[in-house]
């Protein structure tokens, strides 16, 4: 019996040649920034500066400028931290796990997704730093450094210390992975600059590409390193958010003290990460005219991942309620009833609407292949995921065991300012990346471009 399979549609449309790829993607690196870019950049820098002012006030006066209190010791800070870390996950998932599974459609999106990871992790890391009472010593003392204080050592029991390791490992591996992928692409830009006679650019991109010459042996090593790093990153996709979730899961607070958290957090992270990738790519695609590289097919695949992870998250929410009822622990039961019907009911129901109900719209092909609806839903998902963390952190803390200490949390302009700071930082960094670095992995894309002879005419 003979099996015949239909020829797959090309992942890149528009009949691009290898030369077109270099041309299309290097264009925005080489050309002058567009007005649209300037506008976006300007807004980002303004946000960054305003945020930096709020950060400065925080550093000068103390954490008291935020709205935290004796009962709610973490609120927007750790909410934002978990949110940003979660967002980063999509980048690693795309570049590592999808690489191992040989999902070639990832090639158009992995560069931007990885950049997003790096910037998201930087933004995330700013919160544990800012929330420390004593920022001037905290970052150093939380490292297990040999010291002259006798046997003074960090507390390896503390999930916060695990966070330090998890986040720093995650950041360094992601950074190396991302940069490694950029090296041959930098070389392409350098080569084009040499051809165009732009000596400065040639010099800079040569340095950035470490003088990449493209020898066969170099390529061989490049490929092996990519695989090794992919292998290293894969457990990180699971471990980082697992460890972040343990900040809560290992505690005694009802609503935090839950064994379901690790898988639930990882799914949530991928969920929000893909939503953020979509938000960013849909804009990048439009601004840099990359419709042929980031096609509807890509968008649809990512939307399918969103349905899957969104549903996992939804099941997790329901499981929590089930366990609260089944476990018969009064404080736990109250914590969950309070989430849905207490003073923060609006946060809970925002979360449910955004995370569980709205992604189900992607079951409709029309919706998941429509750019506008995808864009809107991707933002809704990220709002929902922010609320998820807010609900977990604030509604669990604000009414825990001893009712005399129950209180409410009211954010101040500095809570909001710190969040704005990370938005400013993120978009400033992303826009600089989009302007000066190739946003799509040219080298990889070229491997899936069909030869001219294969093209249908």
């Amino acid at each position: 019996m003979q099996v015949s399979s239909s020829i797959r549609e090309s992942l890149v449309t528009g009949g691009k040649s290898v030369r077109d790829v270099s041309e299309d993607i290097s264009r925005q690196v080489e050309g002058k920034p567009t007005n649209l870019w300037w506008m976006a950049f300007g807004i980002s820098v303004v946000l960054l500066l305003y945020g930096a002012y709020c950060f400065w006030i925080l550093l000068w006066n103390g954490v008291g400028v935020w709205g935290l209190n004796k009962t709610v010791g973490w609120a927007w800070d750790i909410t934002n931290f978990v949110w940003w870390v979660g967002i980063g996950h999509a980048g690693t998932l795309i570049s590592a796990i999808l690489l191992l599974f040989r999902q070639r459609w990832r090639m158009s999106i992995n560069r931007a997704a990885e950049a997003m990871t790096i910037f998201a992790v930087i933004c995330a890391a700013s919160f544990p730093l800012a929330h420390m009472g004593r920022l001037w010593i905290g970052p150093v003392w939380s490292l297990p450094l040999p010291n002259a204080f006798g046997s003074l050592w960090v507390n390896f029991n503390s999930p916060l210390l695990w966070d330090v390791f998890a986040i720093s490992t995650y950041f360094s591996v992601s950074l190396v992975f991302w940069y490694m992928g950029l090296v041959p692409d930098f070389a392409i830009i350098r080569d084009r600059a040499v051809r165009m006679g732009n000596k400065t650019r040639a010099l800079i991109y040569n340095a950035l590409s470490f003088g990449w010459a493209g020898g066969a042996k170099t390529w061989m090593r490049y490929e092996s390193v990519a695989l090794i790093l992919a292998g290293l990153s894969t457990p990180l996709v699971l471990s980082v958010h697992t460890i972040v979730s343990m900040d809560f899961a290992t505690s005694v607070i009802p609503g935090w003290h839950t064994t379901i958290f690790p898988p639930y957090f990882v799914a949530g992270a991928i969920f929000s990460g893909f939503a953020m990738v979509l938000t960013l790519l849909l804009i990048t695609r439009k601004v840099f005219h990359l419709e042929d590289y980031i096609t509807i097919y890509h968008v649809e695949l990512m939307n399918i991942i969103i349905i899957v992870t969104g549903s996992i998250v939804g099941i997790a929410y329901i499981t929590e309620f089930f366990i609260a009822w089944y476990g018969q622990v009064p404080a736990e039961q109250y914590a969950f009833i309070n989430r849905a019907t207490g003073p923060y009911w609006w946060a809970y129901w925002s979360m449910m609407t955004c995370n569980v109900i709205s992604p189900q719209l992607f079951w409709f092909k029309k919706i998941r292949t429509n750019l506008v609806s995808t864009f809107v839903l991707s933002i809704i998902v990220n709002i929902g995921m922010w609320f998820e963390r807010f609900v977990i952190i604030v509604t669990s803390l604000h009414r825990d065991y001893v009712p005399s200490s129950w209180s409410m949390f009211h954010p101040t302009m500095y809570d909001i300012g710190q969040y704005i700071f990370t938005f400013g930082l993120f978009f400033t960094a992303f826009l600089l990346f989009a302007k000066f670095f190739p946003v799509i992995n040219m080298v990889e894309i070229k491997s899936i471009i069909k030869a001219t002879s294969e093209k249908k005419h």
Partner: protein, 1049 residues
């Protein structure tokens, strides 16, 4: 052009040929003497800048120099770093407390109760505890003043003496106005003053008057006294509006006595039963077993009704069904316990008090629970005399007045009129040590010392004497008021110390040679003890001879069984008291035991009235201002919905609305004294007719430290039962949480993932009796003072960031059998709730959830069971606080010391003077670190060091935490759980031995040094036992003396 002979001159200098002009004649632009070029070159600039930068950076590098100068001649008994303790006495207005002052390096830093006193029995109150900070009040008067201008004693003395002589010469009236004077030597000094100026009269009044009781007793027994009450002998206590645990007459003493009747154990399954009938929910009402809600207009009739039932007379009036039933029940029980019952009333109406006397007489309580022979001397103020004085002053009949440590302009209803008339009085002097409204209205301020700088003696009860001795050299140029009186009366400049000493020699020593070998040792002993008990003289028995008919008829004309109008109840604030200590932030930030509000003045209203008047008061204290008009005066304060407030009544506290006292208290709230009116000749702290309450459009937020009022039926937090139940089962009310394993249910405490600790030496622990704790809050202030706890001010409390290491959780619950419905229903307090107080502090968990989560191991476990906090290691992640199930950890959100932002709320850390009160043994925490109760580790350490130096183990009772020391009711007990002889081990009935198999396989009893001690006291429980953190603090169940047993769950 023909030459002209004329001379044209540019100016007079040219015309006069001024040499200065000639010198510069050749220059067109004359230099006018200002050097245009000062001779600074670029090099100079660089040089100067270089120097400035170098100097500035050098100066910046250097730490500020704090001079510590050693003694050249070290005083005996003063060792750096070793505290000394001096017995003394606290007296303020009508309050008295015998105390021990802790002095470190010449500075009083802590006040504790003196257990040798037969009057206050070692107890203290929040105000006594806080008074040490008033010594270092930055707003104290620093020396004599004439009006607003500072002067010196010589000038002021000369002028005052001149004026006094002038007045005396003309025969003009001189008045010394004072609060009750307890001091025999002071009275003696004033007598001498009177001899010199015979037109002098001493007027004593009290801001919180008890004159009605004095008058009633005068009519009933012929002696104008307030008797001693002994609550410890009372099995049935009925109080009609008397807040005897909070503010009424002698609350410290009463709390001590009351607590002994509230203690229950397996061996003593009896306790007193306490009925309270009142309008506001008072601290005493909160502790009552049965509480009836009445209106002030019913108060007198409730008393007569009780009299009628007890005496078996008819003539019943009807109040609400609930009150009627409770009155019947109370009366029946009073009759059952004749001679061991007590009826007290808070009313200042002599008619009401006469009827109360009649009831107590009928019940045979005189001679048992009431002692007329040993009256209380604290409140002897005479309202009528004071009113006469005000009228005389108004009419210009007074020529000179000296206000001896009192403030009638503020705290007397006719204060405003008095202030106006003072302007026309030739001589007005105030001896107050702080600025106040009266001092400002007086011409001269001759400030007295603070009581901790003074010598004095007191006679709180006949034959019970106490001394006051200075614990510090006077900080400012103040002078003992008694010395001032002596100087003004020409009695020489003997210091008051020798006067007191001479008096004591004269009174107690010279007549009774049997006291001791010599006067010096007698005196030293008295001074050391702080108290002296003279032998009581024979007292003649008194019999009741009151005119009950006229009292009853007076009551029936002044009170009515029902009233549709709003009524106003005026009460003394638990925090700032009568207002004299209002500038003390410790008291401003002390949560009111009931409302848990701080820094604010408010009107308590019932939920029904709030709905009626359209006032919305949410959980976070957001409310509206209301204008309350009564007796022709009106005030505007915030409305606070208070469960337990009788519908149709509004409660407002005295003590607020100070205008001249210092930045802490000024313009906080309104002065309610002007509303106080006169009834039957004494001040009446209520208004029952023509009271209007008008809601204003202004919003207001009241700062409260607790914004959730009920314990949500959580038996893991509060375990309580009734005495009826307790009698049959001492473990009544206990909750024994179980954990379900796959095959069986086991006790929650038996499962742990931790190995536990071994405590080879001490194992510190604490027991808190929820039954004896009255919720007064003295421990909160004591803890603040002992541990340098920051005070953060109103705004920060609204942000829920008070720093108290120890708080008193106050929970309302509905009487048993009430249907709550869902969780939302549980959140609402009942209309007349039961109240439970639970002191909550770091539980020093053996499996502490805070310890495991700190990334830098800043909070760790000690080898003695303490959960300790290393401030210097803390990086401020606040994870420990989040993970603390008891929420007792406090974070330094800001820098609270040396920060102008907290100048008003935290002077102890922001003024040079205030800093002197700080306990040098406790670190002042910096910004960004976590803090919490340390079990007074500095005291544990001091106790261990003393024991070590003396080569012996630490004795039980040697280490006492600040909270325990301050607790008048003895509800808090700290001790070593490893010591089988400690009171704590005995109270908890700890079994110290566990059975273990030795190598030979024999069963052996081994001393248990571990964390799991077998607790034998069935009342003892750990809060949140189910989560397995295993605290070292045990609570003893709350037992209410109620009839009906708790419904089985």
């Amino acid at each position: 052009m023909s030459e002209t002979k004329k001379t044209y001159w540019k100016g007079l200098p040219q015309l006069k040929n001024d040499p200065n002009y000639v010198k510069h004649a050749d220059k067109e632009f004359v230099d006018l003497g200002v050097a245009e070029d000062p001779g600074h070159s670029r090099r100079d600039f660089l040089r100067m800048m270089g120097f400035s930068v170098a100097a500035a950076s050098l100066a910046a590098c250097e730490a500020p120099i704090r001079k510590a100068i050693p003694y050249v001649m070290k005083p005996v008994d003063a060792d750096a770093g070793i505290p000394n303790y001096y017995a003394s006495s606290y007296v303020n207005g009508g309050d008295y407390c015998s105390i021990v002052v802790k002095v470190r390096d010449g500075r009083p830093i802590k006040v504790e109760g003196n257990s040798l006193s037969s009057v206050t029995l070692g107890g203290t109150s929040a105000q006594v505890e806080a008074s040490v900070l008033s010594l270092y009040d930055n707003y104290r008067l620093r020396g004599p003043q004439k009006g607003e201008s500072k002067t010196d004693w010589e000038t002021i003395d000369k002028e005052i003496i001149a004026k006094l002589e002038q007045i005396a010469g003309k025969g003009g009236a001189i008045r010394i106005v004072s609060n009750t004077i307890l001091s025999p030597s002071t009275l003696n000094t004033i007598e001498k003053f009177k001899t010199k100026y015979p037109t002098t009269e001493l007027i004593q009044y009290d801001p919180i008057s008890s004159y009605g009781i004095l008058k009633a007793n005068e009519e009933s027994f012929g002696v104008a006294v307030i008797p001693s009450y002994d609550f410890s002998k009372a099995k049935t206590i009925v109080s009609i509006g008397a807040d005897f645990l909070g503010t009424w007459v002698s609350p410290i003493e009463f709390t001590k006595q009351y607590a002994t009747t509230r203690e229950v154990s397996e061996d003593k399954r009896e306790m007193s039963r306490h009925y309270q009938f009142e309008s506001n929910l008072s601290l005493t009402g909160a502790n009552a077993d049965y509480r009836g809600m009445i209106k002030p207009s019913q108060e007198g009739l409730v008393v007569t009704q009780l009299y009628n039932i007890v005496s078996g007379k008819g003539g019943k009036v009807s109040f609400s069904e609930d009150v009627d039933k409770k009155l019947e029940k109370a009366a029946a029980e009073l009759l059952e316990n004749k001679g061991s019952s007590l009826v007290v009333a808070g009313s200042n109406d002599k008619a009401v008090q006469t009827v109360v006397n009649a009831i107590n007489d009928l019940l045979g309580n005189y001679g048992t629970t009431i002692n007329l022979a040993s009256p209380v001397n604290f409140r002897k103020g005479n309202d009528e005399k004071m009113a006469t004085f005000v009228n005389e002053a108004k009419d210009g009949k007074v020529a000179g007045v000296i206000f001896y440590n009192c403030n009638p302009v503020y705290d007397h209803p006719a204060g405003a009129e008095l202030a106006a008339s003072l302007k026309n009085i030739a001589l007005t002097v105030s001896t107050s040590y702080t600025p106040n409204e009266t001092a400002s209205a007086s011409a001269y301020m001759a400030p007295d010392h603070h009581y901790l700088e003074s010598w004095n003696d007191f006679e709180p009860k006949p034959n019970s004497y106490s001394l006051s001795q200075p614990a510090i050299t006077p900080i400012f140029k103040t002078r003992q008021a008694q010395e001032s009186f002596a100087v003004w009366s020409g009695g020489g400049t003997d210091d008051y110390f020798s006067v007191v000493q001479a008096n004591w020699k004269n009174w107690f020593y010279d007549n009774k040679k049997d006291i001791g070998s010599d006067f010096q040792s007698f005196w030293d002993k008295c001074l050391y003890d702080g108290v002296y008990q003279a032998t009581a003289s024979e007292s003649k028995s008194l019999s009741f001879a009151g005119n009950i008919e006229s009292a009853v008829s007076s009551i029936s004309s002044n009170y009515k069984p029902s009233n549709d109008g709003v009524e106003l109840v005026i009460y003394e604030s638990y925090g700032v008291g009568s207002g004299s200590q209002a500038n003390n932030p410790l008291l401003q930030e002390l949560p009111d035991p009931i409302t848990k509000a701080v820094w604010d003045h408010y009107a308590t209203i019932s939920q029904k009235d709030a709905t009626k008047w359209g006032i919305s008061n949410d959980a976070e204290g957001n409310t509206q201002l209301v204008t309350i008009a009564a007796n022709g005066k009106s005030i505007t304060v915030a409305a606070l919905v208070q469960p337990g407030q009788t519908e149709g009544t509004v409660g407002v506290a005295l003590g607020y609305g100070r205008t001249k006292v210092g930045v802490v208290a000024e313009n906080r709230g309104e002065n309610v004294y002007p509303i106080v009116n006169v009834l039957n000749g004494s001040l009446n702290y209520s208004a029952t007719s023509r009271v209007t309450v008008t809601k204003t459009a202004k919003d207001f937020q009241i700062a409260q430290t607790q914004i959730h009022q009920t314990y949500m039926g959580r038996e893991s937090v509060i375990q309580e039962s009734t005495l009826a139940e307790f009698k049959t089962n001492p473990a009544a009310g206990r909750d024994f949480p179980k954990i379900t394993k796959w095959d069986e249910k086991v006790d929650a405490s038996t499962i742990s993932m931790w190995k536990g600790h071994q405590y080879p030496n001490h194992h510190w622990g604490m027991a808190i009796d929820l039954n004896t704790c009255t919720g007064c809050g003295a421990c909160v202030v004591a803890c603040n003072v002992e541990n340098n706890v920051s005070l953060v001010g109103k705004d920060e409390v609204i942000r829920r960031r008070e720093m108290h290491w120890l708080r008193i959780d106050r929970y309302y619950s509905s009487p048993e059998g009430t249907e709550h419905g869902d969780y939302k229903g549980l959140e609402k307090a009942a209309e007349n709730p039961e109240v439970t107080f639970q002191p909550m502090l770091c539980q020093h968990c053996n499996n502490a959830s805070c310890e495991t989560v700190c990334p830098v191991a800043a909070t760790t476990h000690s080898t003695e069971g303490l959960n300790q906090m290393t401030y210097n290691r803390c990086i401020g992640t606040r994870y420990c606080a989040n993970n603390c199930p008891y929420k007792v950890r406090r974070f330094n959100w800001f820098k609270y010391h040396d920060n102008q932002q907290f100048y008003q709320s935290n002077p102890a850390m922001n003024t040079d003077l205030g800093r002197m009160v700080l306990n040098p043994e406790v670190t002042v925490r910096s910004r960004g670190v976590m803090e919490k109760c340390s079990f007074c580790v500095q005291r544990i350490q001091a106790g261990k060091l003393t024991a070590k130096r003396e080569r012996r183990p630490v004795k039980d009772g040697e280490v006492v935490t600040a909270c325990q020391a301050s607790c008048s009711s003895g509800a808090i007990l700290f001790g070593d759980m490893n010591d089988p002889e400690s009171r704590l081990s005995k109270l908890l009935k700890i079994d110290h031995y566990i059975e273990k198999k030795n190598e030979k396989g024999e069963v052996e009893k081994v001393f248990n040094h571990g964390i799991d001690k077998k607790i034998g006291n069935p009342r003892a429980y750990r809060v949140l036992e189910d989560i397995g953190v295993k605290p070292n603090i045990f609570y003893l169940t709350k037992i209410r003396n109620k009839d009906k047993a708790k419904e089985p769950a």
